[in-house]
């Protein structure tokens, strides 16, 4: 396609560097403890970089810009929520969780409520959330490799899947900490430097308005290659040149499109004259730039219920972060509760700096790569913008840089998720704490989402990640918050709440992921379930705990001391 010729070498370089740094870490990883938790010797600065590096996934690097390009102001809540999740984590979870000594969520559940069955239930949800989160990473990898080299979709997914699985299986977490910290700075550079040049180009080009009344139009004569069958909606009659399948007929020459829906087959090439308004992929409303820039216009894909969709998204992202398996594990590598707080503060700063940039790509994408609104593949905006807007050797080099950053995003997030899922599989399901068991579990944990990613329907990367947040917010958020602050929680109450919130939210998620987005009120609810399922999970957990008051752990007082007493009191023995 229109990718940079330097992109592939850049991607290979990032993958090799990741493996090399991982291998360097292996020399230090000797015991199982080293393998899983870096022996708790990671300093807050490294740790915060590593957390941010691990957290900034394909959804942040590619997906946010893609959504902003499509939906405008309403989806700015995605990056704000992804960041604010760490504030919620700091306020309610970070220090007590570290002081609990729990490494994973199942550990916490068992330490707090003393139930093995609850532990297993938690392990199940960790694996579910981890896989749900891994699929869009692998999908993003396939998209990236396809966009920059023209390789088939499956190849990128397989490459990332194999590199990450090999790295995790051989290096464990100690090496991952170095890798992740490196990845944060790589990703920040890869998104910030091209953004700076893009803004320069935009300003020198006369600062074309991003908020005019008209919908986006092609700036120059543009040829658009269609990779998957697409239905588009034309809002103003137009003439273009087409080669391939259009509206069910083979064509080779000028085609006149009337207002209304039209179909284009995969493999077709459409050429539009400069100034033609961009036809939009069918599921997209052709937003005028003016309403694109206004809040509550698109609702992030739910234009009829923008308020509900916005608040549900806020709830899912603000409260979901604390329940993500790969996030929690990192807090254990802090030396103590105070260290956990310091780390979280630095993470908030690092994420805040990073998230300034994807929005710039999303907005400029409407000017320089409007054809993505036709194909619907706006996740590719970050990858294509440097080449489209800047051009020449500079544009190609910057294009290679963003491609490398995108690959860093897939590698780091997938590694973190894989360590967590494999850790839970090897300790809770296989129940063998050996290094060998961890390696086997890592292989299993990597293959399942890879198979899913190869089947996945065309969904935006960020939307699927948002769904994983919704499940985490509906399950582990109430468990952590109530477990840490409320003495009255019981194992039965926690289990009932987990099941209520988890089954409903993951059911909604699966319907959306497998069946595609739906219309109307019910569709909005299925796609953004958190506003209903989070309060429900809290309510069920509280009511069921009250009904089983006799099951409150007898040593609850001692547990609360363990969770909340500062280290300086000097009673840190377990």
């Amino acid at each position: 396609m229109t990718g940079s010729p330097y992109a592939l070498p850049a991607i290979v370089l990032v993958s090799v560097l990741t493996l090399v740094i991982g291998a360097y870490g292996v020399r230090f990883a000797r015991t199982t403890s080293d393998f899983l938790v870096a022996s708790r010797t990671v300093s807050p600065g490294w740790n915060a970089s590593a957390i941010s590096g691990e957290y900034l996934s394909a959804a942040s690097f590619l997906g946010v810009a893609g959504l902003v390009m499509k939906f405008g102001a309403d989806v700015l809540w995605y990056p704000v929520g992804f960041t604010a999740g760490y504030l919620a984590m700091l306020l309610y979870v970070a220090a007590p969780l570290r002081r609990s000594g729990a490494f994973t969520l199942p550990d916490f559940a068992e330490a707090r409520l003393g139930s093995r069955r609850l532990r297993l239930l938690c392990a199940g949800f960790v694996v579910l959330i981890g896989w749900l989160y891994l699929v869009p990473q692998l999908r993003g990898a396939g998209l990236t490799l396809g966009t920059v080299t023209g390789a088939p979709y499956w190849l990128g997914a397989v490459v990332v899947g194999v590199v990450v699985t090999a790295n995790v299986a051989t290096g464990g977490m100690r090496s991952i900490t170095f890798v992740q910290a490196f990845q944060y700075w790589l990703k920040l550079t890869a998104i910030a430097v091209p953004a700076f040049f893009l803004l320069l180009v935009w300003r020198s080009g006369g600062v074309a308005s991003l908020t005019a009344a008209e919908p986006p139009a092609f700036a120059d004569r543009t040829a658009v290659a269609i990779q998957i069958d697409v239905r588009v909606t034309v809002s103003e009659a137009l003439t273009m040149t087409a080669v391939g399948q259009v509206d069910g007929r083979a064509v080779d020459g000028p085609v006149r499109w009337t207002v209304g829906p039209h179909e284009v087959g995969a493999g077709s090439v459409l050429t539009f004259a400069a100034g033609t308004p961009v036809p939009h992929a069918d599921q997209l409303d052709a937003l005028g730039n003016d309403s694109w820039a206004a809040p509550l216009s698109s609702g992030g894909g739910h234009p009829d219920y923008p308020m509900f969709a916005t608040y549900s998204l806020i709830l899912a992202t603000f409260l979901g972060t604390m329940g993500l398996p790969h996030v929690l594990v990192r807090f254990y590598t802090n030396p103590d509760g105070r260290g956990a707080r310091r780390t979280t503060l630095v993470v908030l700063a690092l994420l805040g700096v990073f998230y300034l940039f994807p929005t710039i790509y999303g907005a400029l994408g409407r000017l320089y790569t409007p054809q993505l609104l036709l194909t619907g593949q706006t996740d590719a905006a970050v990858l294509l913008l440097p080449g489209a807007a800047i051009g020449g050797l500079g544009g190609q080099l910057l294009g290679a840089l963003v491609a490398a950053g995108a690959f860093a995003a897939f590698l780091s997030t997938s590694s973190g998720l894989l360590v967590s899922v494999a850790g839970v599989l090897s300790t809770d399901v296989v129940r063998a704490g050996s290094v060998q068991a961890f390696r086997t579990a890592a292989a299993v944990a990597g293959v399942v989402p890879l198979l899913l990613a190869l089947q996945v329907v065309a969904l935006d990367v960020s939307v699927v990640v948002g769904l994983a947040f919704a499940v985490a917010a509906s399950t582990f958020c109430p468990l952590l918050v109530l477990g840490i602050w409320w003495r009255g929680l019981t194992d039965v109450g926690a289990g009932a709440g987990l099941l209520a919130g988890g089954v409903l939210s993951s059911g909604a998620v699966l319907v959306t992921v497998l069946g595609g987005p739906r219309e109307g009120w019910f569709g909005a609810l299925l796609a953004q379930p958190a506003a209903v399922t989070v309060p429900l999970a809290f309510a069920v957990m509280i009511l069921a705990s009250r009904a089983t008051r006799s099951r409150i752990p007898t040593d609850i007082g001692r547990i609360m001391v363990l969770l909340h007493a500062p280290e300086s009191l000097g009673l840190r023995h377990r």
């Binding site: 306020l91 806020i314 008051r549």
Partner: protein
């Protein structure tokens, strides 16, 4: 979910009123994980939860109120500041330093609470 209403409380020691509380040799008692130790920490938990809830309310109001505000006063969404429309400036840029500032205030307050408890225990020992 606030506080701990269901388990019968034995003694409640409020951190704010701690100077008036007479506890003999609390450090040793905490180490022995006695009732008094647990009650001391329970006061700390209430104080820390109050900080967290207060700051959550600030975020819910100032940040969480924005969609509602833009719905009630749509004209605000078209105001331009520094060349950026207000929603983009608030959500795209200013939200991040705001979240950081709230986190900073939180750490200051909860660590002061912890220090107060430690000082109290050390002072009475």
């Amino acid at each position: 979910m606030t506080g701990t209403p269901e388990v019968p409380l034995r003694v409640r020691i409020d951190l704010a009123a701690r100077r008036r509380v007479r506890v003999d040799r609390p450090l040793r008692e905490i180490e022995e994980q006695t009732l008094v130790g647990e009650v001391l920490v329970q006061g700390l938990i209430r104080a820390q939860l109050a900080v967290a809830l207060r700051l959550s309310a600030v975020v819910a109001l100032l940040l969480g109120g924005l969609p509602l505000l833009f719905a009630l006063v749509p004209a605000l969404a078209r105001v331009e500041v520094l060349g950026l429309r207000l929603p983009w400036l608030l959500l795209g840029v200013l939200a991040y330093p705001f979240l950081f500032a709230v986190a900073w205030v939180h750490i200051r307050q909860v660590e002061r609470n912890e220090q107060d408890l430690t000082d109290f225990v050390d002072g009475s020992a």
